[in-house]
C-alpha cells in the first residue's frame, strides 16, 4: 500500500483524480459545517438511503464478479437471474402457499438446476470461444430466463414478504431523528454476511481454493486435476443464490416485477467503478454509485444553478443516468476500476 502510494505520481490521471477527490471531500466537510442542524440531518438521511440502495446494486454486481472471475464470462443475465429467483420464490409462496423457510431452499434448488442447465447446454459447447460469443450467449440466456419466468408466473407485480422487518428503525428515528427503513438495514447486514461468508469459503475450503485456481488460469487448473465443468456449476449456483438474495431484497422493497432486470443494469457502472474481478470492489462500487446518485438527485441541480447559472430542472431525475456518467468518467481515468487488475490484452 505504502509502496503503491509513493509510486503514485500527481501528474498521472490517478493523481489528478485523487487531488480532486481530496478537494471535494474538504469542500464537503466545510459545507456540512456551514449548514444548519435540520439540513445536516436531511443530508445524513440522503446519504444513508443512498448507501443502502447501493447495497442492492452491490448484490447484483457480486454475482457478476463471481462468474467473471472464474470463467471470464461477462454475464449479462445476472440481473434477470435475480428476477427469475424472485419469481419462483413468490410463486412458491403466493401461488402454492409454501412457507418462506421452505420456499427459499426450494428456490435455491431451482437456481442450482439453472446452473447445471447453463453448464450443460451453453458453456460446455462454447469453451475456447471468443468472450464476445459467450457474452452474446448470456444475453440469450437472459431472454430465456425472462420468458420462462413470464410463462410460468405471469408478468404482474408480485408482493413478497419473507418476514423481513418493515417500517422505520425506531432506534435511529427516536435517538437521532433519522428516518431509515429497517428493511434496508437488513439488506446491508445480509450483504455483509454474504461477503464475509464468500471470502471465508474461497480462502479456507478446498472448493474455494479450486475456484481461485480456475479464476487464475484454466490450463494450470486442469493440469492439477480440477474439473472446469464442476467449478462452473458451483460458481453459477453461488451466483444464483446471490441473485436470490438480491431478488428477495428488491422484491421485499417494491414487489417482484420485471423492471427489476432493468434496475440491475446499474450493476454495470458499479463494476466499471469497482473493477470486474474484485469482490470488495463490487461492494464499494455499489455504495459509491448509490450515494452518488442520491446526492446528485438532491443537490446537483442547485449547485449547477449557483455555479454556472444552469437551469436546475435539467438535473431532475439525474438519479437515472448519474451512474452511467460517473462510470464513463471513471473509464477515462482508471479503466481497470478501483480494485481491478490492470487490463492486459491476452495474446
Amino acid at each position: 500500500m505504502m509502496a503503491s502510494l509513493s509510486r503514485l505520481r500527481l501528474a498521472s490521471p490517478e493523481g489528478v483524480g485523487l487531488l480532486l477527490l481530496a478537494a471535494y471531500a474538504a469542500y464537503g466537510l466545510f459545507w456540512l459545517g456551514s449548514i444548519d442542524e435540520r439540513d445536516r440531518l436531511f443530508f445524513y438521511e440522503v446519504t444513508l438511503s443512498g448507501l443502502l440502495a447501493g447495497v442492492m446494486y452491490s448484490l447484483v454486481a457480486l454475482g457478476f464478479v463471481l462468474i467473471f472471475k472464474s470463467s471470464g464470462i461477462f454475464n449479462f443475465s445476472q440481473g434477470v437471474m435475480a428476477l427469475f429467483a424472485g419469481l419462483f420464490l413468490t410463486g412458491f409462496m403466493n401461488d402454492f402457499g409454501v412457507p418462506a423457510f421452505l420456499a427459499i431452499p426450494l428456490t435455491v434448488a431451482v437456481m442450482v438446476a439453472v446452473a447445471f442447465a447453463v453448464e450443460r447446454f451453453v458453456l460446455r459447447h462454447l469453451v475456447n470461444q471468443e468472450p464476445i460469443i459467450l457474452f452474446m450467449a448470456t444475453i440469450g440466456l437472459a431472454f430465456v430466463l425472462e420468458g420462462v419466468g413470464d410463462i410460468l408466473w405471469g408478468s404482474d407485480v408480485k408482493p413478497l414478504d419473507v418476514g423481513l422487518p418493515r417500517g422505520a428503525s425506531d432506534f435511529l428515528l427516536d435517538g437521532y431523528g433519522l428516518y431509515v427503513e429497517k428493511l434496508e438495514i437488513a439488506a446491508a447486514a445480509v450483504a455483509a454476511v454474504l461477503v464475509v461468508a464468500l471470502s471465508l469459503f474461497s480462502q479456507y475450503t478446498r472448493i474455494g481454493r479450486a475456484l481461485r485456481a480456475v479464476a487464475d488460469d484454466h490450463q494450470a487448473a486442469l493440469s492439477v486435476g480440477i474439473s472446469l465443468r464442476t467449478i462452473w456449476v458451483i460458481v453459477w449456483s453461488i451466483a444464483g443464490a446471490v441473485a436470490l438474495v438480491a431478488g428477495i431484497m428488491w422484491g421485499s422493497k417494491s414487489g417482484v416485477q420485471f423492471s427489476l432486470a432493468l434496475i440491475a443494469l446499474k450493476a454495470l457502472p458499479v463494476l466499471i467503478l469497482g473493477g470486474f474481478t474484485s469482490i470488495p470492489g463490487a461492494i464499494l462500487g455499489g455504495l459509491i454509485i448509490g450515494v452518488g446518485e442520491k446526492w446528485a438527485e438532491i443537490y446537483l441541480g442547485e449547485v449547477m444553478n449557483a455555479l454556472f447559472g444552469l437551469n436546475a430542472s435539467w438535473f431532475t431525475a439525474i438519479e437515472n443516468w448519474f451512474a452511467y456518467v460517473l462510470a464513463l468518467a471513471f473509464l477515462l481515468v482508471r479503466p481497470q476500476g478501483l480494485f481491478g487488475e490492470k487490463i492486459i490484452e491476452r495474446v
Binding site: Q219, A220, A221, L222, S227, L228
Partner: protein, 273 residues
C-alpha cells in the same frame, strides 16, 4: 503414497524396474489440414527419463498434450499402466497420477509460490479447511501433512526465499522451478516436462538438470521431457524419441539416436521436399 514411501520403494527396488508405464500406439492428430502427429508409437518405461526431441513444429508439444489429455487424437490409443485409456478430460488424467508443466508456463500468477505448489495437492485433500477453523481435528492433521510435503518440495527445489512471493513477478527461471514444484506436489507416477530449461542461462540449466535427475533418482518418478539442448538430452535421458514434421524418425539410446543419419539431417536442416 507419500514421498517417504516412494523413497522406500526406490531404495528397495531402484529405478530400473523397467516395466512399461505408458504406451502410445499409432497416434494421429490433425488440426484442420495440418497433421501434427502421423502414426506415432512409442513407450515409456517405469523409472526412466524419456526425452522427446525434434526441430520446431515437429509435434513434440502436441504429443505431450495428447498424453495429458489436452488434445484428442483422431486415431490411435494411449495405454497407461497396462490398460487402454478411454477418452478422458485432462483433469481426470491428472487424477490418475500424471502431472505436467507447460512450454509457456501456466502458473496461478496471483498466488504465492507456496499456494501454487499447494494446488498440486488439491485433489488429494479430503477435508475442508473451514472445518479446521470450526473444529480442530482431522482437518488440521491433514492440512499439516500437506504443508509438510509442500515444504519438503520447496526445500528440495531451493526456493525457500520466494515462498511467499506472488509468482507472476518472479523471473522466468524461477517460475519454471515453481511449476515443476507444483507438478511434484501431486506425487505423480508420470511427470511430463515441456522444455523445462527453455530460456535459461547455463547455471539455471545445470540446476534444473540436477533437480530432474534427483526427482527421478530419489523418488523413482518416471519422466518424459521435451528439450532442445542436445547436451542436456544426452546427459539426462535413458532413451530418446525423435520427431520431425509429425513423424517419428528415431527412437533409442541417446548415443544411438545421435548417430542416426535421418536425425542428423533433421537437425542440420537438410531441405525437406
Amino acid at each position: 503414497m507419500n514421498m517417504d514411501a516412494q523413497l522406500a520403494a526406490h531404495l528397495s527396488g531402484g529405478r530400473q524396474a523397467g516395466g512399461t508405464l505408458l504406451e502410445v500406439k499409432n497416434i494421429t492428430l490433425r488440426f484442420g489440414g495440418v497433421e501434427a502427429l502421423k502414426n506415432i508409437s512409442f513407450d515409456i518405461r517405469e523409472g526412466e527419463i524419456r526425452a522427446i526431441i525434434g526441430p520446431n513444429g515437429a509435434g513434440k508439444s502436441s504429443m505431450l498434450n495428447v498424453i495429458s489429455g489436452f488434445y484428442h487424437p483422431q486415431e490411435g490409443e494411449v495405454w497407461f499402466r497396462g490398460e487402454k485409456r478411454r477418452p478422458m478430460r485432462p483433469h481426470q488424467i491428472a487424477r490418475q497420477g500424471l502431472a505436467r508443466t507447460f512450454q509457456n508456463i501456466a502458473l496461478f500468477k496471483g498466488m504465492s509460490t507456496l499456494d501454487n505448489i499447494m494446488t498440486g495437492r488439491l485433489t488429494m485433500m479430503r477435508r475442508n479447511m473451514l472445518w479446521q477453523a470450526l473444529w480442530k481435528g482431522p482437518a488440521e492433521a491433514e492440512e499439516i501433512a500437506h504443508r509438510e510435503a509442500v515444504e519438503r518440495i520447496i526445500d528440495f527445489l531451493e526456493i525457500q526465499h520466494i515462498r511467499k512471493k506472488p509468482v507472476g513477478a518472479l523471473p522466468y527461471g524461477l517460475q519454471k522451478r515453481v511449476e515443476l514444484g507444483r507438478a511434484l506436489a501431486a506425487e505423480p507416477k508420470l511427470l511430463l516436462l515441456d522444455e523445462p530449461m527453455a530460456g535459461m542461462n547455463v547455471e539455471e540449466k545445470e540446476d534444473m538438470s540436477r533437480f530432474i535427475l534427483d526427482v527421478n533418482d530419489e523418488f523413482g518418478t518416471t519422466i518424459a521431457l521435451i528439450e532442445h539442448d542436445m547436451g542436456v538430452v544426452m546427459d539426462l535421458s535413458d532413451r530418446v524419441v525423435v520427431l520431425d514434421y509429425g513423424r517419428k524418425i528415431g527412437d533409442g539410446a541417446p548415443a544411438e539416436v545421435r548417430a542416426n543419419p535421418e536425425v542428423i539431417d533433421a537437425y542440420l536442416g537438410v531441405a525437406h521436399e
